[in-house]
Amino acid sequence: MLSNPRTSFILRNLWLAVWLALLITTIGKAQEKPYFVTYSHDLEEPGNLEIETKTALAQPNGGNQFGATAMELEYGTRAWWTTELYLDGQATGSDSTVFTGWRLENRLRPLMRDHAINPVFYVEYENTSGADKTILEVVGHDSQTDLAAPNGELRRDHQHEAELKLILSSNVKDWNFSENFITEKDLGHAPWEFGYAVGATRPLRSAASSRECTFCAEKFIAGAEVYGGLGDTFALTLRDTSHYIAPLIGWQLPKGVRFSFSPGFGFTSTSLSRIYRVGLAYEFDQVGRWFQRSNGGGQ
């Protein structure tokens, strides 16, 4: 844990280090939708490891600006099964920089064929503190006031949560439409909380160029997502719930790096008025083969 008034400076340097580390690696790729909250039925290719950082920048009413980053390690266990580990941290202005916990998730495709609507089951265990501000989902009566308290106070609250999602997703004429139904339960005495996320994306051009290019239209994917809370089993109502609409843009950079950006806008009084999200992803191909080579079993 760090405690430093210039936390944003540290965060920027951390970003720079990650960025450079990604750029010096030579081979790899990343090809996913630029959603930050919504999941589509795209899974990681088997044997590949994707490293992605998702950063949320916002300022709650009555609180300080913060930047919260989730570092995501996503591995394609099978073509129908993806496993992810998240490491979360945040830096709050005039406060501190803290590690806020980890999450382990699995996504499973029960149907082996592509259909008009493709279901994916999502199961996650979260071990985070109340200071987690990554906002990777919005459920129940999540509110901006949850994010306004000092880190020292928020960190006293430990959360052991299970999260289940039903992901439904369709690819239609180069568009992707995804709908997520979310339920989350603190494993202590707390109600089930519900939420939703829906999104649509499309590449700016369908056909690939016949030459290498960085700024070609097909390298960009645009879209939007809408997400929010649906109350909980104690109060299954939309009153005091947060909802956001967020345009998205994703850019496939050379050397397999993917950049994504999304300005989100809250449209209820309990929502943050604005939330900016930045993502940077890099995919390592066939990491299992690295170990085969070291054992002399590679090709």
Binding site: R78, M112, D114, N171, D174, N176, S206, A207, A208, Q299
Partner: protein, 125 residues
């Protein structure tokens, strides 16, 4: 001795039949409508070149730069099976994948890029 040779022959013959049946059944699963489709980019040089780049980004990691696979789980794409398939068969298979056997679904790629891959695969047979 004679009996042993016969047993070896029987096993080899059965394996060949099973392999042939598996290869054939892959395309037999393709719906007639998809099977009959032709590549709208067929014969376009640009499509082959673009397909080579899409192949490099998405297929090469498993099927190798020369498309000959690894001789084990990742099959060669310069094969009789590919030559026997219609353009529609290959595009359908790219879209569906074979999740049970490790081939991802590429329905997330725009359809034009799947046709570009088909054009490229045709050009390397």
């Amino acid at each position: 001795m004679m009996r042993r040779s016969f047993a070896v022959f029987l096993i080899a013959f059965s394996a060949a039949i099973a392999f042939a049946a598996a290869s054939a059944s892959r395309w037999q699963r393709v719906p007639a409508k998809d099977h009959a489709r032709t590549n709208p980019l067929d014969g376009q040089r640009e499509a082959k070149m673009a397909g080579a780049l899409v192949y490099r980004d998405h297929c090469q990691q498993c099927h190798q730069a020369n498309a000959q696979g690894d001789g084990r789980k990742r099959p060669s794409l310069r094969s009789e099976g590919i030559r026997a398939a219609t353009d529609g068969d290959i595009e359908w298979f790219l879209r569906q994948g074979d999740l049970r056997h490790g081939m991802p679904s590429w329905s997330s790629l725009p359809q034009a890029q799947r046709w570009q891959i088909v054009a490229y695969l045709r050009s390397i047979q």
